[in-house]
């Protein structure tokens, strides 16, 4: 099987809910964003349209980040296609950051907390297993997914714009939506084979 995500740009309102739900789920430190929302406008006044594009790791089928990683810290789970990082192996060379054409990797050399006064009890609890001086990124909430829950950003999206499922299963909702609504990926010309698809607005 191969986990994938579909983000419906018609539904998405650019609320940052995914970015923040992800933060809450993983306690990522300042400057590390497994999920982000990009904003841009097209056209000229008054025929202008605003676009929000939520991004996260695409869990590429042919992931350049894995290829570039000298230690094997970046790897793909064979059973579900999730691209993950083994933080015990990572040397912090950041080659993967240069290789990822989607800028979805972050180097964690930040202070591990948001307030000057130090880590909040939440941060202390949630980030206990974080390592510093390694690269971090979205892992499709693998722990949640393995326990049968959808990824945090999917579960929380207030407009139900994010759908999670098996891309290998042609009957799954993700496969069906991609087919019916003309799902597309980012930078397909690079041949990375992203597992995150977008539905046109």
């Amino acid at each position: 099987m191969r986990w994938g995500m579909v983000i419906d740009l018609k539904r998405c309102i650019g609320c940052y809910g995914c970015q923040l739900a992800c933060k809450a789920e993983h306690g990522t430190p300042p400057g590390v964003y497994y999920a982000r929302v990009l904003k841009d406008e097209q056209g000229q006044y008054p025929t202008v349209s605003n676009i929000s594009l939520p991004v996260l790791c695409n869990h590429c089928e042919d992931a350049p980040c894995i290829e570039a990683c000298p230690t094997g810290a970046s790897f793909k789970w064979e059973d579900d296609g999730i691209v993950d990082i083994d933080h015990d192996l990572c040397v912090g060379c950041r080659s993967c950051m240069m290789a990822c054409p989607y800028t979805n990797r972050y180097f964690n050399d930040q202070p591990a907390h948001y307030h000057q006064q130090g880590a909040t009890p939440y941060e202390a609890a949630r980030t206990a297993h974080h390592q510093s001086n390694v690269v971090m990124k979205c892992n499709f909430c693998r722990d949640r997914v393995r326990s049968g829950k959808p990824p945090a950003c999917v579960a929380n999206c207030p407009t139900v714009a994010r759908i999670f499922g098996d891309l290998d299963d042609p009957t799954s909702e993700v496969s069906r939506l991609i087919k019916e609504r003309g799902g597309f990926t980012l930078h397909p010309e690079l041949g990375t084979g992203p597992s995150v698809y977008y539905l046109p607005a």
């Binding site: 300042p30 400057g31 964003y33 982000r36 990009l38 904003k39 841009d40 097209q42 676009i51 929000s52 594009l53 991004v55 350049p64 894995i66 290829e67 570039a68 990683c69 000298p70 230690t71 094997g72 810290a73 192996l89 990572c90 040397v91 912090g92 060379c93 950041r94 080659s95 950051m97 240069m98 290789a99 990822c100 054409p101 989607y102 800028t103 180097f107 050399d109 930040q110 202070p111 510093s132 001086n133 390694v134 690269v135 597309f184 980012l186 930078h187 690079l190 990375t192 977008y198």
Partner: protein
């Protein structure tokens, strides 16, 4: 503001930009990577020319530079204590290959060099051990000369680097660096040295090749249709990196050596040759520094959706 919070502020600003510059390689601790790459490149070149001209001090310089390069690499890593894990992915990762190249090189040099330059060494340079060392170092050297450009070319996220010319360019740098190293060593060591004239000729030739390759690369970036690559060129020629490019790469690395070469500034001699070498090397450093720091990520802005 602490260094780390300054970096965070910068990141937040960068993430709002259409063209986000990469900052992990080349800024802050990332500077050590540029230094490391630079030193290792020069080292391999020095070794090569040391072998060609059979010039011992050149080999020594190569070894020392490579050692320094290795240390700089370690200083760059987020987790230097795990450096040995970098061997694990030779199959796909250029960094792994480079790491192995450097290890081979250093280990080979340790086997080959001491008997060559020191008296009373347990084994001789032309012993089996010495030949093994020679072979390892030579192999390592080739890897070091070749791999570096590929590290950048393999960076799919940064279109400016993602050019087929990059590896060739880096090879040319290694050669230019090697010559430069030899020019400097000649002033330092009182040993019979290769003819200055041939070194200078090679330097001129390699420099010409570097200029052509670099021009081609810039031209490619400008016409290749990738806005991020174009943006990188702009950063270099008219943006954040322009000072380093004009002052470092062009002035220090090209104009000054050429002026020195012309003999107009100072009478020709070992000192001037060394100065040419030094400036040339410094210029190369800035060349790498500017290209690396001018790296701009492929934009992911929603605007892209239009071209779907």
């Amino acid at each position: 503001m602490t260094e780390i919070s300054a970096k965070y502020e910068q990141l937040v600003q960068d993430l709002r930009r259409d063209f986000r510059p990469q900052r992990e390689w080349g800024e802050g601790r990332g500077l050590f990577l540029v230094i490391g790459h630079f030193l290792v490149g020069v080292a391999a070149g020095a070794w090569l020319f040391g072998l060609i001209f059979n010039y011992g001090p050149g080999l020594v310089a190569g070894f020392i530079l490579a050692g320094g390069g290795g240390i700089a690499h370690l200083a760059f890593l987020g987790r230097p204590e795990r450096f040995w894990k970098m061997v694990r992915h030779v199959r796909t990762a250029w960094i792994s290959r480079g790491f192995i190249g450097l290890t081979l090189f250093l280990a080979g040099a340790v086997l080959y060099l001491p008997p060559l330059v020191l008296a009373d060494w347990p084994w001789a340079a032309n012993s089996a051990l010495g030949y093994l060392g020679w072979g390892m170092a030579a192999a390592g050297m080739v890897v070091l000369i070749v791999y570096m450009g590929f590290v950048y070319t393999a960076s799919k996220g940064i279109p400016f680097w993602n050019s087929p010319l990059h590896p060739v360019l880096y090879m040319a740098y290694a050669l230019r660096g090697g010559i430069a190293a030899l020019l400097v060593t000649m002033a330092l060591f009182d040993a019979p040295s290769p003819s200055a004239a041939s070194l200078v000729t090679i330097w001129i030739a390699v420099t010409a090749i570097v200029i052509v390759l670099f021009a081609l690369e810039i031209q490619g970036a400008l016409t290749g249709g990738n806005p991020a690559a174009r943006r990188s060129v702009r950063e270099m020629l008219a943006g954040r990196m322009a000072v380093y490019f004009y002052g470092g790469t062009l002035l220090i690395g090209l104009v000054v050596p050429l002026a020195l070469l012309s003999g107009q500034i100072a009478p020709f001699g070992v000192g001037v040759l060394a100065a040419i070498g030094l400036f040339s090397a410094l210029g190369d450093f800035f060349m790498k520094y500017t290209t690396i720091r001018a790296g701009i990520y492929l934009p992911l802005r929603p605007r892209q959706l239009r071209h779907r």
